[in-house]
Symmetry: C2
Subunit: 319 residues, 2 copies
């Protein structure tokens, strides 16, 4: 056998309790925005029959220990065969020799987790201080991660959930019932959005589901769902209405996500877009008043994969 550590999801998930990557994740975004990371454009493969998509994200932070390659796929029809829709792995290679150090066959779960973590720290950085209610749009895996991770970093007392499918919405509320906050299902997305100060969108919508008219002063939106050139959850005019628009990666969001849509439609200008790492470092100014509307658009950057994969590898050594 190779010297590389090979772990599957059951082995990885056992290690996760000993991992806390909120601070390392923030640091990685800061390094990225400082230009200390090499992150080429996302690789993509599309499949027609059955429909599926693969994203390949890769890169490294200069001066770091590893380069990462992350392969994550989604094949929706897998559910018909009792196979998880998400599949894939993260691989760590020694940055000085290229020798493989870890093959984490995570079935795309680490991607979901690191996305939850990034969403939570972005929401915390941009939402009004003291916000106690979060609205989560969508009923998939990412809705669960955003809810759980938010509670790790913000003093949330209530989570309101909305989903197109009532049965899946009930299931989500059930799944989150172990959390020590009030979980409510909401049937009216407009009403929910209008009374929210923190909205986290996690759907795979290809047409906007949140209307610009619904957004009230003081609202922060963390848009997590759209990570491709065609997915889109927000009315692009929301970016125009917002005082602050933040990308996780300006280079990447020009090609993908809500900002990509906004640039195409002229509702946001490239020079007005801030980058998340600069918000975290204080280089860029985030929210300066209670009334501002802000949007963070997350498309997922390979530095996030690097951070979580390295944390798992480290945990194998201390366990």
């Amino acid at each position: 056998m190779s010297n590389a550590m090979v772990l599957d999801w059951s082995e990885i998930s056992d290690l996760l309790q000993s991992i806390d990557v909120y601070e390392p994740m923030k640091e990685a975004f800061i390094e990225y925005s400082l230009g200390h990371a090499e992150i080429p454009p996302v690789g993509e493969l599309l499949f027609a029959d059955p429909p599926g998509e693969v994203h390949i994200k890769y890169g490294y932070i200069k001066g770091g220990s590893h380069y990462v390659v992350k392969i994550a796929s989604g094949f929706a029809n897998n559910r018909d065969h009792n196979v998880a829709p998400g599949q894939g792995m993260m691989i760590l290679f020694d940055i000085k020799t290229g020798v493989p150090r870890a093959v984490l066959i995570d079935d795309a779960n680490l991607t979901d987790l690191r996305t939850g973590i990034a969403g939570a720290i972005a929401s915390k950085a941009m939402a009004n201080v003291g916000v106690e209610t979060a609205s989560i749009i969508g009923t998939g895996v990412q809705a669960r991660h955003q809810a759980r991770c938010l509670l790790d970093v913000m003093p949330i007392k209530e989570i309101c959930c909305w989903g197109r499918n009532a049965a899946r919405l009930d299931e989500l509320v059930q799944d989150l019932s172990d959390l020590d906050v009030r979980i409510t299902a909401c049937s009216d997305l407009r009403e929910l959005t209008e009374r929210s100060q923190l909205v986290v969108t996690t759907t795979s919508a290809k047409e906007p589901i949140i209307d610009v008219e619904w957004i009230q002063p003081g609202t922060h939106i963390t848009a997590v769902g759209s990570d491709t050139p065609d997915k889109c959850e927000l009315d692009p005019r929301i970016l125009d209405k917002a005082s602050i628009v933040v990308a996780d990666s300006i280079a990447q969001n020009k090609e993908r996500g809500e900002i990509h849509q906004g640039l195409k439609q002229g509702t946001v200008k490239e020079e007005d877009i801030l980058e998340l790492g600069d918000i975290f470092s204080g280089t860029a100014r985030g929210r300066t008043s209670m009334d501002q509307i802000s949007v963070v658009d997350l498309t997922g950057v390979a530095v996030q994969d690097l951070v979580i994969a390295e944390a798992v590898l480290k945990a194998t050594k201390s366990s």
Copy 2:
């Protein structure tokens, strides 16, 4: 453990004797040139200190069983630490679900092997029938593979080797001494080229080492070494002098390899470039006279990785 087969190089190399991929390799190039493959642009990561490069090649053939992701790196300084310069792996995923089926931690050896195979079948397809002497330029791993694979497919009686470094040239001749043909070392590249009808270049040169004046009528060149935007072994004017210029992938060779250099310098026009799979299928006409000069420029296409990785996976099932 995951259900994916995980093999290291010692396990893979044990399986190789039972593998014959010359025909499948040809078929894969044919499928590729028919437009039946999805092969996005090569992913690349570069490292400054220590210097290194990583290529990520990925894709699939429509109607096939797997998609492949191949990661292959070269870190030249590894030799200082007794670590092989080439590292990496090929990963096969189920094309219908994305489930990982095989992780072949091949230390880049399968890439070397499939390159040798592609070079040999390209040389056979394009060189004059009856050529009995092959000249191999360069003294690295690929010189060895090209020599061995050529003998599998052509009636070669003598292999003439040239390299810049005399000690490494001696070593190469020694390493090939088990082959049932005459192996000679040649010290004068010009003289060697002038009397060759089949030249295979395998160096990592970044400046041309073969001059246009040296190329005689009837010569075929298989250019294997250059696979990046900056590497270059042939005087670009050779492409102008040649009657037939063949790319393994026109899309890819526009960005990499000898053809990329020739297009930049105007010594070849895009519309005059043929594709290897079309030569194999007969859709494009190859050599039509003994006096023609021809060049095949190989940059390495992910369908090759797919073929060899699938052959290894298949061999595990029958062994």
